[in-house]
């Protein structure tokens, strides 16, 4: 599998391009801040992107299974889910890996066997997009769940304590008739 060896050699370059690409979806100087600030506590977004995308690409290259991919997708998408991106914008970076790969192996692609392997690898990327979609939706659901729960908690507990809710007692034997 010639492509695997190529991917392995160029891994650092590809991941570098990919991370830059993701970070460049932000405003220019925020992107500059995300790229240059190396302190993980002062720049959690930038550092998480570079680490997780690195692991993600390694998992993708070595044919990682669904769980491994989502384990690495989760930190990135958890951040993208709460920033002002539409779902399409949030997940776009997954399929943007394809043009990066194509530009990286432009010359090698002339050789037929390699281009067939690349097409198959791109299918894997599409599969990863679907996994990403699940992870992204899970984050969004968690967000909405939190929104709903704050409202419910607020009222329910207040009612409970104000004695407006009679909480259901445990089933006592014999207090209801069978008819």
């Amino acid at each position: 599998m010639v492509l695997d060896k190529l991917l392995e050699q160029h891994e650092a370059a590809i991941v570098g391009l990919w991370v830059d690409h993701v970070i460049n979806t932000y405003a220019p100087d925020s992107a500059h801040f995300y790229k240059t600030q190396k302190d993980q506590f002062a720049n959690p977004v930038g550092i998480t992107f570079s680490e997780s995308l690195g692991n993600l690409f390694k998992a993708l290259r070595t044919g990682g299974d669904r769980d491994e991919l989502s384990k690495h997708l989760d930190p990135v998408l958890r951040i993208r889910a709460i920033q002002s991106f539409t779902p399409a914008e949030a997940l776009a970076f997954i399929i943007d890996l394809k043009p990066i790969l194509r530009s990286q192996f432009k010359d090698a692609l002339k050789e037929k066997r390699l281009s067939r392997e690349l097409v198959r690898f791109e299918d894997q990327i599409d599969a990863m997009l679907l996994i990403a979609f699940d992870v992204y939706s899970a984050c969004r659901e968690k967000l909405f769940e939190l929104k709903v729960s704050t409202e419910r908690e607020k009222i329910y507990k207040a009612f409970l304590r104000a004695g407006l809710i009679a909480d259901i007692k445990a089933e006592e034997p014999g207090n209801d008739a069978l008819h």
Binding site: A42, N43, S84
Partner: protein, 541 residues
């Protein structure tokens, strides 16, 4: 999503946003980032101007025609009334020291969340109206006229600042963007532009003394509910007193602890502590349903509203004739008390300098305001060995401490809560030095932004703090985040739930109560939350 992206849109999605100047990129008010507008009933209840139903998402904000003039007059008046405002408008040299310190900039990546730019939003209008250079040179001198877009921008970004003042720490001249945000919000309030999550609690607090509008009897019922819980766990019947005249101490805590989990357990902690002190040392503490709210959402509206809501504390203390006031665990409440209360509603000469009757300690640092922080009080007790504590009961909790912004940068309360925690629990780990004490990161939901509708903003704002908790969670296995602020206790569970799922949130005095050996209490199997204590869980099954 009415307008599905057309196929060709898909391609240029990941293009870089246009590199236009910040003055040319208009602010976009987005769902999940802006809070709903204040409902007119609340505005009328406290007499705030221009009450009407409107939404920030639609175009027409139903503003009075002469709104520019109102803004100008309001601006002028505040420049005279606040030297901080006028000085901060003039001396910023835009050196960029504060620009990457704001948790909202770090989390959202929106350049206008940089503290220097948030201030420039206001400063640009100031230059246009109040400085010669601004009038002459216009855009070159960094001035721009007050337009509707600018107003929308103010609305979007002055409600994206939790007034945590981290930027003021790093600014060479101490320019306080929180102060500028307060002025911005006051100006917006002149036009009736405020958010419901602040306006309604203000109205409730004004009328019923607490943010939720809990009526006195309901307030007492809730406390009684806690009394039953305590009895179930410890077998001891605590008897809190309400509006008891002639008591030693009036205790005021944020009402958030009375209704929102996990604050409720901290409230139970207070009850047990005061019962213990009453039993052992005869300390007479009273609560008050009238002054049942330590917090002050008026602080996020205007200086006048802050004063109107805060007046209750001294009035109630005077009416009940207590010796001094004890304040519960809260964040912005303590900024108001520590730096504003005495000036606004003082002097409190009907109270005397707080002395802890049990240990005899005179709280010199509260000699004029006559209000002591609960952790100062408890730390003093522990230091003199007045509390019988069994820290092993908190053994299953691996703790870390989140310095709430206001006690950290408005008071400097670092060692007291840590001292208390380390005496009531054994495993405590501080987060990295650059994320705690005076450099602490905000929970992302302060200054009245802990509504439900701006959850994305809150998650983005709390990202740096969550990232630090995740670090100590991975490194030391921390599973409990302690904090001394009611809003923190209400919002951090959501933050933890989203970023670091297996870390819970607790108040400091819940831990104190867990460890407290009450006179005449039964052998405890569970902590205040009903979870089994270490070593007893196998006994149960």
């Amino acid at each position: 999503m009415s307008d599905l992206p057309k196929p060709d849109d898909l391609l240029n999605f990941s293009h870089r946003p246009p590199k236009t100047e910040w003055m040319d990129t208009p602010a976009e008010i987005k769902k999940g980032f802006a809070c709903y507008a204040g409902n007119p009933k609340s505005l009328e209840a406290v007499g705030l101007p221009n009450p009407r139903t409107w939404s920030c998402f639609d175009e027409d904000w139903q503003l009075p025609e002469n709104w520019q003039e109102i803004i100008y007059e309001g601006f002028k008046e505040r420049l005279d009334k606040f030297r901080s405002f006028k000085v901060f408008m003039d001396i910023c040299v835009r050196c960029g020291a504060c620009s990457d310190k704001c948790h909202y900039f770090i989390g959202t990546g929106d350049p206008k969340n940089m503290p220097v730019l948030r201030a420039e939003l206001l400063r640009s209008v100031y230059r246009n109206d109040f400085t010669k250079a601004g009038k002459l040179l216009g855009r070159i001198a960094g001035a721009r006229p007050m337009t509707l877009d600018v107003l929308r921008e103010w609305w979007a970004y002055f409600f994206q600042c939790t007034e945590c003042r981290r930027c003021s720490l790093f600014c060479p001249y101490g320019i306080d963007t929180a102060e500028i945000t307060m002025m911005g919000r006051e100006l917006l309030n002149l036009l009736g532009l405020n958010i419901d999550w602040i306006a309604t609690p203000v109205a409730n607090c004004y009328r019923t003394g607490n943010h939720l509008g809990i009526q006195p009897h309901a307030f007492k019922d809730m406390i009684d509910f806690f009394v039953d819980d305590i009895e179930e766990i410890t077998g001891v019947q605590v008897e809190p007193q309400f509006q008891k005249k002639g008591a030693d101490i009036l205790f005021i805590t944020p009402s958030g602890d009375v209704f929102a989990d996990p604050g409720t357990y901290t409230c139970m902690g207070y009850l047990m502590l005061f019962h213990f002190l009453k039993e052992k040392y005869g300390l007479d503490v009273t609560w008050s349903t009238y002054a049942s709210e330590g917090g002050n959402f008026g602080f996020f509206t205007s200086h006048e509203m802050m004063k109107r809501l805060n007046a209750k504390m001294y009035l109630e203390a005077k009416r009940l004739g207590v010796k001094w006031i004890l304040g519960g665990e809260c964040g912005h409440m303590w900024r108001v008390i520590n730096q504003y209360m005495d000036t606004m509603n003082g002097p409190a000469d009907f109270l005397d300098v707080p002395v802890n009757p049990i240990t005899g300690t005179r709280f010199e640092n509260a000699a004029s305001t006559k209000m002591v922080h609960i952790t100062e009080f408890t730390a003093d007790l522990i230091h003199h060995g007045k509390l019988d504590l069994d820290p092993s009961r908190n053994e299953n909790k691996v703790l870390t401490f989140h310095d709430s912004c206001n006690p950290s940068r408005g008071m400097g309360l670092f060692e007291e809560p840590r001292y208390v925690i380390q005496n009531v629990a054994n495993n405590f780990y501080d987060m990295p030095a650059s994320t705690i004490r005076e450099q602490t990161f905000c929970c992302g939901s302060g200054a009245g932004l802990n509504a439900g509708e701006d959850m994305e903003l809150r998650m983005a704002g709390g990202l740096p703090r969550a990232n630090a908790v995740k670090h100590v969670h991975d490194k030391h296995g921390v599973n409990m985040l302690a904090t001394i602020c009611a809003i923190d206790r209400a919002v951090l569970p959501d933050l933890m739930n989203y970023w670091v799922p297996d870390v819970e949130v607790t108040g400091v005095h819940e831990l104190v109560a867990n460890a407290l050996i009450m006179p005449g209490e039964q052998e405890r199997e569970t902590d205040l939350r009903g979870e089994p204590l270490l070593g007893t869980e196998d006994a149960d099954e």
